[in-house]
């Protein structure tokens, strides 16, 4: 048993994947606490899906896919905010429009490349192909996101819980929302390598939703969420190592869903 846990650790690619999963898992779970509590799951889905055209464009034009992804996610956030700035357009539909437009643009761009196979990793993730540069990007994003969350903890908590009071005190709830969207875009970029554009949103929502069931304070929610994401990520990785039929991205997400299900069944109703 112990041997089978230790065996994959001899492989450099597995260790890299493990490190990436732990860092991204914690980043997304902490951000996800706000995503879930503020009911931003749909926005986060849009941001993560809209990465697609950015990465494809970057591959076609030959610049860093991370820059492409970040640009596309920020463009989506800005576009949705602009569309929703009219009184007769709800934010929900604005986000829906941006999500579909960006995803369609991504598919159209993929067609230009004439080879869909190259993009399977982009859509579904390929954590085993994480290289040292990827690890660096993921580590940097994790540092930026977690430092941002720590420094702005009181402002983000206040603006998320009681927007009116935040406004009254001058803590700029509108600005906090933009900051949060930017951080989600950053977090999404760091995850796309692991679980793919289609499933990244799961890392924001599932662990944090588990945390919300178990935690009584915001830091507790983040801690439970991180634990769930790390556990799910590690188990998912081992699963796909020993059962290659299970793609790593899907394995990670499915394993994150198990603690959620357990929490849903045992957490006391509040």
């Amino acid at each position: 048993m112990l041997e089978s846990l230790r065996e994959p650790l001899g492989e450099a690619f597995f260790v890299r994947a493990l490190t990436a999963v732990v860092m991204s898992g914690i980043t997304c779970a902490c951000l996800g606490a706000y995503v879930v509590l503020r009911r931003m799951a749909f926005v986060s889905t849009a941001l993560t899906h809209s990465i697609l055209p950015g990465v494809v464009a970057a591959m076609l034009l030959g610049f860093s896919p991370y820059l492409g992804a970040l640009g596309a996610a920020l463009l989506t956030a800005a576009g949705a905010a602009w569309l929703a700035s009219r009184r007769d357009t709800s934010e929900d539909s604005a986000v829906g429009v941006m999500l579909s437009v960006m995803f369609a643009a991504g598919i159209a761009l993929m067609q230009q490349a004439n080879s869909w196979r190259d993009f399977a990793g982009l859509l579904f993730g390929s954590v085993v192909s994480v290289g040292p540069e990827d690890l660096l990007v993921i580590g940097l994003t994790a540092a930026v996101v977690l430092t941002g969350l720590r420094l702005l903890h009181k402002e983000l908590e206040l603006a998320s819980f009681d927007e009116e009071y935040a406004q009254l005190l001058g803590a700029r709830p509108g600005l906090m929302r933009v900051v949060l969207l930017a951080l989600v875009a950053l977090g999404a970029v760091s995850c796309v390598r692991l679980v793919g554009a289609l499933l990244t949103t799961a890392l924001f929502v599932i662990p944090a939703a588990t945390g919300v069931l178990l935690g009584r304070t915001l830091p507790q929610v983040m801690a439970w969420g991180s634990a769930c994401a790390v556990a799910g990520g590690v188990v998912g990785l081992y699963l796909s190592y020993y059962f290659p039929a299970v793609p790593s991205g899907a394995g990670i997400v499915l394993c994150c869903a198990l603690p959620y299900l357990a929490a849903r069944l045992i957490a006391p109703r509040r």
């Binding site: 509590l37 009181k154 009681d162």
Partner: protein, 246 residues
Amino acid sequence: MFALLPTLPYAPSEKAGCGGIAIRATNLTARARADGPVAFQDASFEIPCGCRAALIGPNGSGKSTLLRVLAGLTRAESGTVFIGDATPRTGRRRIAYLSQRPHLTAYFPLRLRRLVQMGTYAHHGWLEECFHGDQAVDLALERMGLTELSDRPVHTLSGGQLQRGLIARAIVQGAEILLLDEPYAALDQSSREIIDRFLFSQGQHFTVLMATHDPADLARFDRILELRNHAVTTRRACDGHGHHHA
């Protein structure tokens, strides 16, 4: 590490204390929503420091809008508001505003103690975490009869307990002006008594403006503002209890 960071205040610094007039509104015109009808027009009134003022008027007459304008949450179309010698934006930490139905995020993981502690944020800037002020929080919880509930998640509190918690937050904030939008709307008797005792006891150094529907209530107020047909009329002289904060 955090001590090294520059701390920026949320609001510009201002002189503390209330000398004479707590709230002065001049020719105020505002709408509840930018594309809605005018709520009141050219409203001018004064509320002296330490005054307990009631704001009355029929449903939909614009009481809530007036309170929101005074709190700086809704922008007035024209006219000026002074909170002491500051505008609502610069004098914001002096004001506490309680809306009729607080828009709090449902099921947010927050204990009552943390909610009350948020009052201290008024005196902190960006990036600063506050680890002190526990004594003030304890005192405020005690005054509102909430000591036993301080570790309860906010979403398990009753409407009255929550309302008291929000007033405790205003106490911790050290607000000099309390703008209350029908605070008794959904309160049980015991919550009401606790809030009454706090608002109307002698020697309290703050100014109150409370929207109310209860005519029997009015005897207790020093000043009555009536909002009717888009205009504000003032009744009763309030001598004011000119006071200064340390």
